[in-house]
Amino acid sequence: MSKMVIGLFSGGVDRLTGAGIIVSGAAANDMDVEIFVLLMGARSFKREIAAGQGELSESPHLKDEFTAALDKHKVKKWTEFLREAKELTHVRIHICGLAGKLWGGEKIHDFVDLADDICGISEYIYAAEEADVHLFI
């Protein structure tokens, strides 16, 4: 089974949606996926932030248009893409410990239930070394 590793730095709903779509594609192809949630991504994985609508990473003035387009085309929320992918294939989501702390998240239950554990940066580096596909979003 080929492996995808994603360093998910971005916290904007646009890039998270893109990440969700990519992970869905990986799931459809039975890839093993590990996501390491870094810096701004960690903020978006906080429970109370993940529940909200989020902001765009790029072109914030396009937020209403982006949101309307997602609704029009029935595109799932990024959390739902990841949740569905977890049901279809082996997807592990790790929150970088430092990133979590920056946003006040110390324990795994501070984050949305999609997150599996909190890890250090070495684990990301080792996983990226062994991945068939390594993406940084």
């Binding site: 779509i21 869905s24 799931a27 459809a28 029935k74 595109v75 279809l88």
Partner: protein, 84 residues
């Protein structure tokens, strides 16, 4: 690959209606549904998402299923495949 006439007369064992959903929805629905049919059986996927016309043949190639072809209908298309 089969001709349009052959596809129109084919008997499918499972139909996945993913019309109205955007990529990667139809592909994910196909992946979920393929497990419900037996090897050698035929599945139809209805989609209105253009990207799916390329996604599913590629997926078939990767997973070893036979991509049988596509039939265009007003506003959507039907993709046919046979499970390996």
């Amino acid at each position: 690959m089969l001709s349009a006439d052959e596809l129109k007369n084919i008997t499918s064992h499972r139909t996945v209606d993913a019309r109205g959903t955007a990529c990667p929805g139809p592909l994910l629905e196909a992946k979920k549904a393929i497990g419900t049919i037996q090897s050698g059986q035929i599945m139809e996927v209805y989609s209105s998402d253009e990207g799916t016309k390329r996604d599913i043949p590629k997926w078939c190639q990767k997973k070893g299923h036979d991509y049988l072809g596509v039939v265009e209908e007003p506003g959507y298309f039907k993709i046919f495949l046979k499970k390996k």
